[in-house]
Amino acid sequence: MSSQIVNALVLILLSAGIAIPVGHFVVPWAGWAVFCAGLGLQMLFNFRNFARLDRWSQHPVVDASLEGEGAWDGIFGRLYRHEKELRDQIAERDDQIDRLFAALQALTDGVVALDLNQNIVYCNTTAEAQLGVAMERDRGQPIVNLVRQPEFVAYLSAGEFERPLTLRTDRGSDRVLSIFVIPYAGNRRLMQIKDVTQTDRLDRMRRDFVANVSHELRTPLTVLAGFLETLQEIDLDYDDRKRYLNMMAEQSKRMETIVQDLLTLSSIESAPPPENDLVDMTSLVDKLRRDGEALSAGRHQVVADTDGIFDLRGSEPELVSAFGNLVANAVRYTPAGGTVRIEWKATPQGAEFAVEDTGIGIDAKHIPRLTERFYRVDRGRSRDAGGTGLGLAIVKHSLNRHQAQLDIKSTPGVGSRFAARFPASRIARV
């Protein structure tokens, strides 16, 4: 600053130094003219720099070529450094914010930040998929305009967030979400959304399992107890007695089958990996066909179709029981006159054992749950057909132990196809 004043003073003194001799020796007005010209030049110089600063301040850029002249150079230099530092700081902040958002994006839980009026401020991609919103398009929109389920709206407006809200979405896929609302920064809200579809399903399966075991065992037990009471209290003739005892035997046999199946299931679950016997598939398929025919008693056509190239490695008793179960199911759920087709074919990934029928079929919504224990499509019907409700659960476990996938395709009224897909490691060329 002081150097600028000195500079300006020196220039004024310089013009005065020239003007005074000129005024003294020539004419006075010429001296004044020279002095004014000196001051004018200095103003012109200052004005040029001022105009440059004015232009720059309208569109500040970090440009090293920006230089002032004379005393102005210092000002321009400081402005340049200030602008540069500011920009570096902003870039660093931007970087930090980007990393923060990237961290939020990386969370497997959905995150939505709401402002004071419950408008969407931010949401990560997980939340976008969970709630069917889009950050770019819906920023500033009240969240309840898009997530309109009445229970969600009520939960958010009630403001009691001790317990998370369990919400079933129906956008796209059927998912169960658990929503935690956390107040932050005053009255703003942060929503954390967990996908609990799988946990919800397991919970339901466990509840269903206990309820089902009790139910399945209680039914025959009630019948048994009823007959026992009758036998204790009423004197029956020999024939009635015999008939009742037969029925009791039937029910106790039924309970035994259920317990046997439960034990099989738990032993498969805890057993070591199956041995690697070579199973002769051509003769096994033929045996399955004969068994199927015997069960059908001539009411169905049972066809076997095998290309005879591969045999299977695994535990023979387990595989026989699993395949036999699929064939028996096909025969049971196919009306008389239908066809049951047993296939053993090579596939690009390995080989496939399939049982196809022209039976009653299964509605698509039951298929994912078919292999759950005691899951029944039609309660009355399958019990009449003699099933324990554990067959497919056992099949699935046996197949899983052989690294095979059970694939079920079905059309109601047309027929079903149950296929066990074995990987290449499980098969051997004949």
């Binding site: 500033g140 309840v144 898009l146 309109r148 009445p150 956008r171 509605d363 919504k365």
Partner: protein, 229 residues
Amino acid sequence: MNESQHLSSQFDDELSRLRTHVLQMGGLVETQVSAAIEAYTTGEVASVKTIVETDRKVNELEKAIDDDCAHIIAKRQPTASDLRLVLGISKIVTDLERAGDEAKKIAKGVRRIYENGHLPGQYGVGIRHLAEAALAMVRQALDAFARLDTPQAADVIRADTDVDAEFKSIIRQLITHMMEDPRTITTSIDIIWIARAIERIGDHAKNISEQVVYVVEGRDIRHTKEKVQ
């Protein structure tokens, strides 16, 4: 967006609250429709009562929102896009209320079918498919209204043709079924009513979308062959 700034920010608040109320009512109707379809597929008649009771709430909301619209018009004398928004809303709530009524009809039909002990059998899949399409239309129409998104509204209007076609194919199937076995006529007629109600829900979603186009663009595309976008 439509939300231009007004001198009175209170007016902006009123309009945005009105929109949120409409969408709340829409959420209720969506739940009604999906609950009715759920009852149809699972046969759980117990939920029918809830659906019928919730319909009363939908009716009350319709009245309350209509009242709000009248108030805004009288007090604020809105013009241009604000006026279109208020007018559009008063038509949208009518369609929503009717869609809610159709959901109630479906629920009652379900109760009749299951109380007579007849199961819809092979019609389960077809009807559910139709219902899912109609429900998606309602959802998209409401999303389009929330976002004032005309391309999505146009999608809904186009989807209505598919729902209509599917409805017709279900009816044809039912007619064949009834001719083959006259004992199924009672159930079949109930199923026809249900299919009809679902098809109407699709129509209401289409009407809502047409109102969205009107609110945003000021074009009235009802009853015209005018192409949307």
